[in-house]
């Protein structure tokens, strides 16, 4: 209470300080560019959105790029919320600090088929097979773009990228020079502050450092009470990056980050392990981590280059008694691209990763084999890809594969073939087929979870060391059309067949019900993803996207309650999703941005109490309206007002167990941004 007043005072104080004469007294010079010679000007690399869109237009896979403009204007403040913008991505907010994000099926808290990277560094937890979204973040203004690929990227990025890959790419330090400040206050975005400073240490060396703090509000309970949920969340993060152009051929990049935060998870009516009582619990979450990444790009010629990248990552995620993980990872990757012959462009690489966890922090009810010293896992990988110009500049056939050896399933091969027909500069038709695998998580492989136990009877998940990888065969076809550079349409259709999906199956043995995970489920899914953009007027842009996804699951009859398992897996995802966005520059200084989202109803069947029954939750469809008003109050000073979920006071998006009963509320925040 007292702290809120102090923070408000600070916010108002800073606001007035920014407006003080000292900060605006100096005249802004237009430095260096006019002093450059013609030759120097000709060496400058410029960023045009056009170029990126152009190359994206020709790619034979379902790629979507979230641009800096969308990141700024959509009003979202976290990675999972930004991923809502990608056609075919399904995002559901679970509580204030958790999200279920996936694409093309299997949307769950830990969607194990989606590989997520930041600047090429994996931010995916191999123990639970998912991303701790509440631990990952950066300054929104640091993001160069977010590349989201639906479909298997097995050939380039490796396993666990079966339904999709997300890569958050941050800007070079050269593009984030000077000071940047931002402060936010709101109803859900309670308080947030960012400071960033970038400068040069030589004519070709640039660096930046930044700090970000936020404090986010709780959601509300699902029952009719208006009780707050007690799931608030705060995080403090510091990052630094340096980019250095050593010479004409060599670029070096180093970046590092560190974070510490905490959150809560509310659970209602949790039955204790001996089935004697049920209670409401609030579980504390503690997260911290650090990473260091370095990359060396070397240009061999105009067409050939190689890249060497290494990183070290450490994190600890401690959700009290529920789950915990503490892990460090070292990874080194080498990639070489060359124009091998006039018609073949080859891309190949090798990589090694070592990752080790600390046995202490798993959770109250979880034990793992290899516990005493933690488990260290090694993965060796290699990939090769050849883009063959069957008809030069017109028909490109890309064939490739990734080879991997890991400590769980041994040797894995993930081949793919893609065809791109560049019909004319305004049309592209492409098709692809590929195989991808998902390696069982450490939790499935080694973990024992005590669900409950009463004298003489135990229900627990036991380790399943003999599981194989889950396999995906994906077929996709896509078409893109560009109309006079003013409008474009992008359509993709896919068909996936999954085999050997892991399924919990009750074991044998008197007085125990040991659940082992077995590869006894097959699934198919199919769907379409459509997106389009129209620059209706020079000051008004409209974008829209639609996706349809259907999934059918078949569990082998030997598994107890096979049909229940099938129905549960089929119920995770909504069938249809639709979005419409409008970006309107009313004047040079004032803009209004609107986002309208429709998410179809989700059956959300869950395992109920007692064990082996199904409860039908039925999350209703919802329509979400977000609006953003932004004023350029002065040179480099912008004030924006964002309203989210304006049509709905509150609505649920996700229920996975009977204990999670959060609803997402209508929210608003104000943000002040200043750059120097």
């Amino acid at each position: 209470m007292f702290t809120r007043q102090i923070s408000s005072l600070f916010f108002i104080f800073s606001f007035f300080l920014i407006l003080s004469p000292s900060t605006f007294g100096e005249e802004k010079e237009k430095p260096t560019l006019l002093e450059k010679s013609l030759e120097e000007l000709m060496n400058l690399e410029i960023t045009t959105v056009g170029k990126k869109e152009q190359s994206w237009f020709r790619v034979p896979s379902a790629v979507a790029i979230i641009t800096p403009e969308e990141i700024k204007r959509a009003g979202h403040t976290s990675y999972p919320e930004l991923l809502r913008l990608v056609p075919g991505f399904s995002v559901a907010q679970i509580d204030s600090n958790k999200w279920a994000v996936s694409t093309r099926g299997f949307r769950d808290l830990h969607a194990h088929n989606l590989l997520v990277l930041q600047d090429g560094r994996s931010i995916y937890s191999p123990v639970y097979g998912g991303v701790f979204w509440n631990s990952q973040d950066t300054l929104l203004d640091n993001i160069e773009r977010i590349e989201a690929v639906r479909g298997p990227g097995g050939s380039l990025w490796g396993s666990n990228a079966s339904t999709g890959i997300v890569n958050v790419i941050t800007k070079s330090a050269k593009d984030t020079q000077g000071w940047h400040f931002s402060g936010t206050r709101g109803s859900e975005e309670r308080n947030s502050g960012e400071v960033r400073y970038g400068s040069q240490f030589s004519s070709d060396g640039f660096y930046r450092v930044n700090v970000k703090y936020f404090d986010r509000d709780e959601t509300v309970r699902r029952d009719d009470s208006s009780n707050a949920n007690d799931d608030d969340w705060e995080m403090l993060r510091g990052e630094a990056r340096a980019d250095w152009k050593l010479n004409e051929q060599d670029d070096l990049m180093i970046e590092a980050g560190s974070y510490a935060g905490d959150g809560k998870e509310p659970l209602d009516n949790v039955v204790n392990a001996t089935l004697t009582a049920s209670e409401d619990r609030v579980v504390d979450i503690d997260m911290n981590g650090s990473h260091l990444l370095a990359r060396w790009d070397h240009a061999l010629s105009d067409t050939d280059n190689w890249k060497l990248q290494a990183y070290y990552d450490w994190y600890r995620y401690d959700e009290d008694t529920l789950l915990g993980e503490s892990r460090w990872t070292g990874d080194i990757d080498f990639q070489h691209q060359l124009q091998w012959t006039a018609s073949q462009n080859v891309n190949w690489g090798v990589g090694y990763r070592y990752t080790k966890d600390d046995p202490i922090n798993y959770a109250e009810d979880i034990t793992m084999t290899h516990d005493s010293n933690g488990r260290g896992d090694q993965t060796y990988s290699a990939f090769i890809q050849d883009e063959i110009a069957v008809v030069p500049q017109q028909v490109l056939f890309t064939v490739g594969s990734k080879f991997e050896h890991n400590d769980y399933t041994g040797f894995e091969v993930q081949p793919s073939a893609r065809l791109a027909w560049l019909i004319d500069p305004n049309q592209t038709l492409w098709a692809s087929v590929g195989r991808a695998v998902r390696v069982p998580s450490r939790f499935i492989h080694d973990g024992t979870l005590l669900a409950f136990s009463i004298p003489g009877f135990t229900i627990a998940q036991v380790p399943s060391p003999k599981t194989r990888s889950e396999e995906l065969l994906a077929y996709e076809i896509g078409y893109r059309f560009n109309f006079m550079d003013k409008a474009y349409v992008d359509a993709t259709a896919f068909y996936n067949t999954f085999t050997d999906l892991l399924t919990p199956a009750t074991g044998t043995g008197p007085f125990t019900s040991n659940i082992k995970n077995v590869n006894k489920t097959d699934s198919e899914s199919y769907g379409v993803e459509l997106s389009g953009s129209w620059q209706a007027k020079p000051y008004w842009k409209l974008t829209a996207n639609y996706s349809l996804m259907q999934l059918f699951s078949h569990t082998h009859d030997s598994v107890a309650s096979a049909s229940a398992v099938e129905r549960i897996v089929e119920s995770f995802d909504p069938d249809h999703q639709f979005q419409l966005h409008s970006y309107w520059d009313v004047t040079d200084d004032f803009s209004v941005d609107t986002g309208l989202y429709y998410v179809d109803h989700t059956p959300a069947l869950i395992e109920g109490n007692p064990f082996n029954t199904i409860t039908d939750i039925q999350i209703p469809h919802y329509v979400r309206l977000d609006m953003r008003f932004a004023w350029k109050i002065a040179q480099d000073l912008t004030l924006s007002l964002v309203g989210q979920n304006l049509l709905d006071k509150r609505h649920p998006e996700y229920v996975r167990t009977e204990y999670q009963k959060s609803e997402i509320q209508r929210a608003a925040y104000a943000k002040l941004e200043y750059k120097m």
Binding site: S37, L44, T48
Partner: protein
């Protein structure tokens, strides 16, 4: 999380407002093209009488609010070769008069013959950025690997009384 940390980050916020510094924004295409135009002035010669009439001012014309307009406007503060730059705005080609350089945005519709006629009769250095512009304009910008390049129609320049220095001709990607 101690509230102290919250206060420290907020204090850093307002303390840092007291320090000022100025560095370049990420390089935008039109910002750099404006810098090129500034250099062109140094390496192109106009007939002497055009400057006598304009009283030692250098006129750059822009048709219909191209993104380059605001960047060219900021050049007005920096004189070149002892002459002050003045940027003029026109809605269409027919209105253009008394300029040394004319910048034509890809979205402008015009009759190529009208452009050439104006170039020759008024001794204007016409600059464009569309494929094919070089047939009826003097200089054309294009992009190669995210870098700006330009072509020059030297024959048209000579016909218009413009003398382009060999240095500029050497740096051009094609010279007609």
């Amino acid at each position: 999380m101690p509230n102290r940390l919250k206060h420290i980050s907020l204090s850093l916020f307002f303390l840092s407002c007291l320090i000022t510094n100025a560095f370049a924004d990420p390089l935008k295409e039109y910002e750099v093209k404006a810098a090129f135009v500034y250099q062109f002035i140094k390496y192109v010669g106009w007939p002497q009488n055009t400057f006598e009439e304009s009283k030692n001012r250098f006129f750059i014309g822009v048709i219909n609010g191209s993104p380059i307009y605001s960047f060219l406007k900021s050049l007005e503060k920096t004189p070149v070769d002892g002459k002050t730059i003045v940027v003029k705005h026109f809605n269409q080609l027919a209105e253009v008069t008394d300029v040394h350089i004319l910048f034509i945005h890809p979205k402008i519709v015009f009759e190529p013959r009208d452009l050439t006629k104006m170039t020759v009769s008024q001794h204007v250095l016409t600059v464009g950025e569309t494929p094919g512009f070089i047939q009826h304009g003097v200089i054309n910008f294009h992009l190669q690997d995210s870098k700006i390049r330009f072509e020059i129609n030297n024959a048209l320049a000579k016909n218009s009384g413009l003398e382009i220095s060999s240095k500029l001709l050497r740096l051009a990607t094609t010279v007609q």
